[in-house]
Amino acid sequence: MFLEDTIAAIATPPGEGGIGIVRLSGPEAVQIAEKIFKPRKATFPLKSHRLHLGWVQGPQEGEIIDEVLLTVMRAPRTFTREDVVEINCHGGIVPLRRVLEATISLGARLAEPGEFTRRAFLKGRLDLAQAEGLLQVIRAKTGEGLQAALGQLEGTLSRRVREIRQEILLLLARLEAAIDFPEEEDVDEVTGRQVKAQGAGILEKVRALAEGARRGKIYRDGVETVIIGRPNVGKSSLLNALLREERAIVTEVAGTTRDQLEEYVNLAGIPLKIVDTAGIRKTRNRVEIIGVERARNLAQRGDLVIFILNAAEGIAREDREIASILQGKQVVVLLNKIDLGENIPEAEVRRLLPGAEAPIIRASLINQQGLEELELAISQLVFQGQVEGSRADFLASLRQIQALERASASLLDMLAGPLEDPDLLSIDLKAAYAALGEITGETVEDDLLDKIFAEFCIGK
């Protein structure tokens, strides 16, 4: 679970535009890289600790995802003391993600937050002080509130995965009950043919789900997010706070001017595309005179609006004007600067945005306070499908898509298994069930026994 498989992730440091890096680490890193990489000059095996120019190929014949610079670093002289490959892409967020997906389709696993660092630590590359810092990061990502809330969320994907799991479980229960209770009349013998026929149907569903997940607008493009508010209310503080974290993926949309800069933030597995970050930054240096106009334009675009108010100063006339143009939008209200005073009661916010069930977050961005609550609120809205774009399709993270693909692979194995040994088919069926369980966070054995005893009258 922790070591010795090959992990991959987008590893671009925040704040850098244009170029993004996909990093691989583990025993199969080089092998995977050589499968997708078409070097311009270099020959395989690629020389270690050198930059190689070439292209990353897509799954289709002759398809090129991006022109890249690729570095192979063989163990042990690497950050993680494992084989490491870094792929420098420059085509922006979409090719970056496709390169990552290509490595994953060849067997790499999506890295967990901080996992490269963790490996480095476990292999003895980091000292204790660095390790302390690492613990902090992981702790932040697993904050109790966020974990619990995410666990309760019932997205469309989870619901469909659960339905499929139920189907697999029932099939498994029939298989296993026939094995454990061979003399029970209530338990029919299940033939390999029956298992495979049903398994084929399940495979179709899993594939359709993976396909749908890939199409999911939010996964592909990110949630268009607008940060809005009066001058000096804390928009750039929020942007910076979001970007400062390790999760930030920053890029420029190719061929655009700095004025329309968009930046990506990965928030609890959801990519947020924050619109007009240049506009937010500019106001740091000069007086912002176009507050309301800007808001009007931006609000049209956003799937999600983060509306910042100055909690200390109370609601101003300009706030009311902005609020009036947010009709029908999904809004999260951030009451900033509570360290200076709290002069906006919740009821007043509700009057300001009638009809909207906007979550209200109390924050002091300067003190890093309220960020976790904001993450929680946003992820809840998205997972509950309340944000436009998440409603049409469903949301899946790359990790979840990967789990769907592993489930497909196991089901395919199952279909290729021997007809005469239905209990062998259960090995792959259980693997598929477990892979799907990683999406919903559930395990196998106990479910299975419960199902067997609920379905069949067993007991001699």
Binding site: M1, F2, L3, E4, E112, R118, F121, L122, G124, R125, L126, D127, L128, A131, E132, L134, L135, I138, R139, K141, T142, E144, Q147, E176, A178, I179, D180, F181, P182, E183, E184, E185, D186, E189, P418, E420, D421, P422, D423, L424, I427, G441, E445, D446, L448, L449, I452, F453, C457, I458, G459, K460
Partner: protein
């Protein structure tokens, strides 16, 4: 009044294996039992084995235990179940002659060097400085030992329930000991109250077998014990008989539910789900027109029959009325009524994987007192507890089996890691690596462990080594020898109804073909050495299922990586920053010994494991006093 290396309390299936193991390993051993007349008693069904249970019996045998040999020597009927399915789940089951089973086991105990038997009631455990030092009998007699194995089955504060009748008692009409539970509580152990039940026994002369379906044994020679292989065919097998309940039976039950202690609330605990009472089945699966009833002989020298499938705690008059509605049982006479029994058992998460009680060195527990059900589950725990008590007494390393090595490993890990809310029964679906844990390879998996601790005798071990070498040698040979598509070979293949060869191929590849078996292979390659049937079978399974076996081995490797990351015993979970509260509480309660075990505790998430892993790494480096 005497001192021993190991004392075993109880003479049931766990107690017998525990005492035999310790004594055979050379420890001076005492078995204290309530009654010498009920050694190896089978108070419930007259059968040993079946899916997963049969696997356990083979594992006990591979470790050097007695159950397999005892049932081989005394059974009435033997059958291999699940033969239409893969080899991992083939399961041997035997009908037992209860009396002969008990008698033979008692004699084996008596014939064992270093082993003393003693009838008596243990009143309390003796301790000194937090360690177990011996036992005190109700008569005031004291026996001392540095290791004690507790195998009290369903006896502790047993209460028998039958309709509205309730009384203190235990199986076999014995008195239920009352004192020992208190002694255990005083020592800080958490106890649970479980219930189980048994059906009526009836007079065979009142059964009309002509209206039932005969269930004969297999004609094939079969044996549980590896030491009895090649097996001999069992002569004069006795049959079981199958009949069914019907709507009239169900009506009798429905009309008398108000008199069932299950439904009146006299019995509080939920019984085991895999062994529900007939009243439970009728209520929960009301749409079923009939349930199976097997009449099973209790022995050769008695006409008593066991009514499998009709476990009940209804009042006796209802039991009789209900039995008499069943086809072929219209004139049935009850010899012993069915009953439910409630008893004290130990919350098993207090145990280590050695079956030693955590925090009470020297005390081991095994069998139903650990919350399990079944003779086989008891015997398997018994042998492990016996081995470890002996190792403890001699100051040697204890034996731990993990989930990839044995059903016994799965059983113990489930108990000590997850605990159980009903009497725990072994099922093949509880084992993740089922294809590796076959009944046919129990010796390959466990005999070296049994030999290492000194339980497996030299003779058994040498036979085992011979078999293992033969299997390995033959598999190697099959990979080297090629068969060419000569006309003779093609002709043999066609005659066997198999496809022809398109080119030269190794015997190994040929054997992997689904329609091919080892017997056919012999016809293709003249120079195959003569091998035992068991060896041939083993070669065939290992070659044919190599793909799946490798897949499971890869899973095991992953699993072991986590198992090997051990958690120090003295860890203070309050001092681990970043753990969620639920995880912290669970870890404090269960005190897992490895990260792998921690991950199987419900409520401990992968994120918690990450944090724990980092904490442990950090701690071990700080302990070394320097960074890398």
């Amino acid at each position: 009044m005497g001192s021993y290396d190991v004392i075993v309390i109880g003479g049931g299936h766990a107690g017998c294996e525990g005492a035999l193991a310790a004594a055979r390993m050379g420890c001076r051993t005492l078995m204290v039992t309530l009654s010498l007349e009920t050694i190896a008693l089978m108070p419930c069904n007259p059968a040993v084995g079946g899916p997963a249970k049969g696997h356990l019996v083979r594992e006990v045998d591979a470790l050097g235990g007695e159950m397999a040999r005892n049932i081989d020597a005394t059974c009435l009927q033997v059958r291999m179940l699940n033969t239409t399915k893969g080899p991992a789940v083939h399961a041997l089951r035997a009908q037992a002659d209860k009396r002969r089973y008990e008698e033979r086991m008692r004699r084996v105990l008596e014939d064992t060097r270093n082993l003393d038997l003693r009838q008596g009631v243990v009143e309390s455990l003796l301790t000194e400085g937090g360690r177990v030092t011996g036992v005190l009998l109700a008569t005031g007699t004291v026996f001392a030992a540095p290791a004690v194995v507790l195998t009290t089955g369903t006896y502790l504060r047993g209460k028998i329930i039958l309709g509205d009748l309730q009384y203190d008692g235990a199986p076999g009409g014995q008195v239920a000991p009352q004192g020992l539970s208190r002694s255990l509580k005083d020592l800080g152990l958490d106890l649970m109250r479980f219930k189980t039940g048994t059906p009526a026994r009836v007079d065979g002369r009142t059964l009309d077998f002509s209206r039932m379906m005969e269930q004969p044994g297999d004609g094939e020679p079969l044996s549980f014990s590896f030491r009895n292989m090649p097996a001999r065919e069992l002569p004069d097998q006795m049959s079981c008989w199958l009949t069914h309940t019907n709507e009239r039976t169900h009506r009798v039950i429905q009309e008398n539910l108000h008199r069932s202690p299950l439904f009146t609330g006299q019995i509080e605990g939920t019984g085991p789900r895999y062994c529900p009472s007939i009243e439970d089945k009728v209520v929960r699966f009301a749409d079923k027109a009939g349930h199976q009833v097997f009449l099973e002989p209790e022995g050769r020298h008695t006409l008593e029959y066991y009514v499998q499938g009709m476990s009940t705690s209804l009042p006796e008059d209802v039991q009789l009325a209900m039995l008499q509605t069943v086809e072929g049982m219209e004139k049935v006479r009850i010899i012993r009524p069915g009953y439910a029994i409630e008893y004290d058992c130990i919350e098993p998460t207090q145990l280590d994987r050695t079956l030693e009680v955590r925090g009470l060195p020297g005390l081991f527990t095994a069998g139903q007192v650990n919350g399990t059900s079944g003779y086989e589950e008891a015997a398997a725990q018994g042998i492990l507890a016996g081995i470890n008590a002996a190792q403890k007494a001699r100051g040697r390393d204890m034996l731990v089996l993990d989930r990839s090595q044995a059903y016994l490993g799965v059983l113990v890990d489930d108990l000590v890691t997850k605990g159980t809310s009903e009497p725990y029964r072994m099922l093949t679906s509880r084992a993740e690596y089922r294809l590796l844990l076959r009944q046919d390879n129990a010796d390959l998996r466990l005999t070296p462990s049994g030999y290492r601790v000194g339980l497996v005798e030299e003779k058994q071990y040498q036979a085992f080594l011979r078999k293992r070498d033969q299997v390995e040698g033959e598999i190697r040979r099959l990979g080297q020898v090629r068969v060419n598509p000569t006309p003779e070979v093609q002709e043999v293949l066609t005659r066997l109804g198999l496809g022809e060869l398109s080119g030269p191929v190794t015997l190994e590849r040929l054997l992997k073909r689904p329609e091919m078996d080892y017997a056919a292979l012999k016809k293709l390659s003249g120079d195959i050495p003569p091998l035992d049937r068991e060896v041939e079978r083993q070669v065939e399974i290992q070659v044919k299922y190599a793909g799946y076996i490798d897949k499971q081995k890869a899973q095991v490797e992953k699993f072991l990586r986590m198992e090997k990351r051990s958690i120090p015993e003295d860890i203070d979970y309050e001092g681990v920053p970043g753990l969620r509260k639920e995880a912290r509480e669970k870890l404090k309660k269960h005190r897992p010994r490895s990260l792998g075990q921690a991950g199987r505790i419900s409520g401990v998430s992968p994120a918690d494991l990450s944090i724990l892993l980092l904490y442990l790494e950090q701690r071990s480096r700080a302990g070394r006093g320097s960074g890398p």
